[in-house]
């Protein structure tokens, strides 16, 4: 395995090892580029994952201090935990459910399609679906997405069967077990899904794609990739010409190290990535690195989300098998007649008893609450995920008071729902309940959004430098050898889960970076 010198200024330093950083690291390594990945969390291999929600949360979740504000309920119920993401090698690809969907054509052209929505800072992406299609295809092949590349769909579990029966009664047409980056048959050295039911706690069998046991070991095998776990980036440095020169990070002992770099790519998720850029402010860049537009940290999106759980007369045991076991796609279209722009997906979701108690209705108590939990074995559940509106005022800033153990200001996350988000959620709750009512639900529970799993948009792509932070390749408008490689480059969120698009963008970005390096452009 490679080990690069701290003073080796020929390496590409990537901050983060998740869907964006882990993929970019491997892709570059395969092309012969030397890469150092700085990962804030420890390396925990999949055999060490635990099928226990709270224990796993302690093992994997990002629980470093963050602050929250805004009218979203998460700020009240989980004020220190705005996001449910991972601090470990593999990032949130250890925790993700595996849903791998492509954007629709219009979802890259939201400004042109939706027009002027008051309060929304809409912008078309500087890329189109046509441009992205070959990269989506590469991503699907890499990840082994079901229903692509001749890979069969996963078998439906009980939770899916309830969803499917209700959907069909209601007349929904596009209902299936999803496009999942979970092996339905052995592939790429990994086995088929054992229906363990703890996708969110890290897949112990390795059937679900995660950079932890795919991209990262493949990259390491080339001899061009070094992953440094428990290495928390605190500042990106630059020279007097404005080019970045390296990353200062705290190593596993807490000692500060400086890794020199030819190129720096930031992939720390949409909360930490802008935080790092803002914390890297200097005399030359007083508002933070790559922030001449003032858009770093802004347009924070988290998807319109919510869940519907329904209780039936007889058992469901929804927790058995794949957490996200199927999907209804009929509402994902843009049909403003419903009272909102954009669309949403309906995807099965199951959480165990401990998390159901924590998330069903945070703060609730008494018999109405315990009656719902008494119905747990007879429950089916779905997650609602749709496009939310980018708003300039939804943003990540540096907390003026709270600092981390290295003395760096922590991220403060402000979020208010846009009226479009509220209208979409109300529609989604109603349709979700209707699906279950159609097959005899005795009661349905609209469940508020969990801490954010899809964090997007805080370093967005734009054609013009004044509108965003990075160009169509994720390259900073201001600093040529600085890239953003995670979901924070999203110009808009689309209805679907973001990981496939993050991976497709990372593969495309690796191609761009390697080309530019060869041409000595950077």
């Amino acid at each position: 395995m490679a080990k690069f010198d701290l003073n080796d200024s020929s390496v590409v330093v990537i901050v983060g090892s998740g869907a964006g950083g882990g993929t970019l690291g491997n892709e570059l390594a395969q092309k012969g580029v030397k890469v150092v990945i700085l990962e804030a969390g420890p390396r925990i291999e999949n055999q060490d994952f635990v099928n226990d929600e709270w224990e796993s949360f302690s093992q994997l979740a990002w629980t470093d201090a963050r602050t929250t504000s805004g009218t979203w309920r998460v700020a009240k119920d989980f004020s220190g935990l705005p996001a449910w993401i991972v601090k470990a090698v593999g990032g949130s690809t250890t925790h993700w459910a595996g849903a791998s969907l492509r954007f629709d054509e219009h979802e890259f052209r939201v400004k042109s399609t939706y027009g002027n929505i008051p309060g929304a800072n809409l912008l078309d992406w500087p890329v189109t679906l046509a441009e992205m299609e070959p990269w989506y295809a590469k991503a699907e092949n890499k990840m082994g997405v079901t229903r692509t590349n001749g890979i069969p769909g996963l078998p439906g579990n009980n939770n899916f069967k309830v969803l499917e029966a209700g959907a069909k009664k209601l007349g929904y047409k596009t209902v299936h077990t999803g496009n999942m980056a979970i092996n339905s048959q052995p592939r790429d050295g990994r086995g088929a899904c054992q229906q363990i039911g703890f996708c969110f706690q890290g897949c112990k069998s390795g059937a679900k794609w995660s950079t932890l046991y795919t991209e990262i070991p493949k990259g390491e095998a080339t001899g061009n990739l070094e992953v440094r776990p428990s290495s928390m980036a605190v500042k990106i440095e630059h020279d007097s010409s404005g080019k970045v020169t390296g990353v200062v990070y705290a190593d596993v002992t807490g000692a500060m190290q400086r890794q020199k770099a030819r190129i720096v790519a930031v992939a720390g998720n949409s909360i930490e990535s802008p935080r790092l850029l803002l914390n890297s402010a200097s005399t030359m860049f007083p508002d933070g690195l790559a922030n001449s537009s003032g858009q770093v940290g802004r347009n924070y999106m988290r998807h319109m989300t919510g869940s519907v759980y329904a209780v039936f007369e007889k058992s469901v045991h929804m927790y058995r098998g794949t957490t996200m076991a199927g999907i209804i796609r009929d509402e994902a279209v843009n049909n403003p007649k419903r009272g909102f722009v954009g669309g949403y997906e309906m995807e099965t979701l199951s959480i165990g008893l401990p998390f159901m108690a924590a998330f069903l209705n945070p703060g609730a108590w008494g018999r109405s609450f315990t009656s719902a939990l008494d119905g747990y074995p007879r429950m089916a559940g779905m997650w609602l995920v749709g496009e939310d509106m980018p708003q300039e005022t939804n943003r990540i800033t540096l907390d003026p008071v709270v600092k981390d153990k290295f003395g760096q200001p922590v991220a403060s996350v402000h979020f208010d729902d846009h009226p479009n988000d509220v209208a979409m959620r109300a529609h989604a709750y109603k349709q979700g309940a209707a699906v279950y009512d159609a097959v005899g639900a005795t009661v349905t529970y609209p469940t508020p959004p969990y801490p954010s799993t899809h964090n997007l948009g805080t370093n967005r792509m734009s054609e013009k430098p004044r509108d965003g932070v990075v160009n169509k390749f994720g390259q900073s408008h201001d600093v040529k050898n600085l890239f953003v490689s995670d979901g924070s480059q999203f110009t808009s969120g689309a209805a679907c889960n973001p990981t496939l698009t993050i991976v497709a963008l990372a593969i495309r970005q690796a191609d761009h970076i390697a080309g530019a390096m060869q041409k000595k452009e950077i």
Partner: protein, 182 residues
């Protein structure tokens, strides 16, 4: 469909003072439970036995599950005593919170909280202090300490860890048999 065995596998060791006791728990469980009732509360060092017993009642009233015996709630609230022993602020939070609840109960019903006979009346008393730090901390702790007990899970038809059993691929992940034909 494969149903989950809901019968309690929970030994009543929580009622017994010595964890290493050789008493065959299952055969004498009922009598043991009666004879040493309250003994668990006498173990408390920082908080008074009366406070612990009232806290038990409060816990039951916050998350009432009639299918669960007191032992699960005792397991859930007992750690407060240890936390109170370590931190005077926690001791004050719990003691003062219970005192206030008892006072409110006496004003209204002439007896302490735990002696108010009907749940509905006790819930009214809890509603009054719902916004207090005491209530919020106790509830916030309980939502984890009660529902995160592995012994509780089968009572709710939840099977917990599955990887060591090979997942559910051969254990009923798709065995639902009552849905209407599509």
């Amino acid at each position: 469909m494969r149903e989950v065995d809901r019968r309690s596998k929970h030994s009543r060791r929580v009622f017994l003072k010595g964890a290493a006791t050789a008493v065959p728990v299952v055969t004498v469980a009922t009598s043991v439970a009666v004879s040493v009732e309250g003994a668990w509360a006498d173990d408390a060092s920082a908080l008074s036995p009366a406070t612990m017993k009232t806290l038990l009642k409060v816990a039951r009233d916050i998350y009432p599950h009639d299918v669960l015996g007191d032992s699960y709630y005792i397991t859930a609230i007992k750690p407060w005593d240890g936390k109170a022993a370590k931190d005077p602020a926690v001791k004050a939070l719990i003691s003062d919170g219970i005192s206030r609840l008892d006072q409110n109960a006496r004003d209204r019903h002439k007896v302490g909280y735990a002696e108010v006979p009907w749940e509905a009346d006790r819930v009214v008393l809890l509603k009054e202090i719902e916004g207090s730090d005491f209530f919020q901390k106790v509830r916030g702790d309980l939502v984890v300490s009660l529902y995160n007990q592995k012994e509780v899970w089968p009572r709710f038809g939840y099977e917990g860890s599955s990887a060591e059993h090979g997942g559910y691929i051969n254990r009923g992940f798709a065995d639902i048999d009552w849905l209407p034909k599509a």
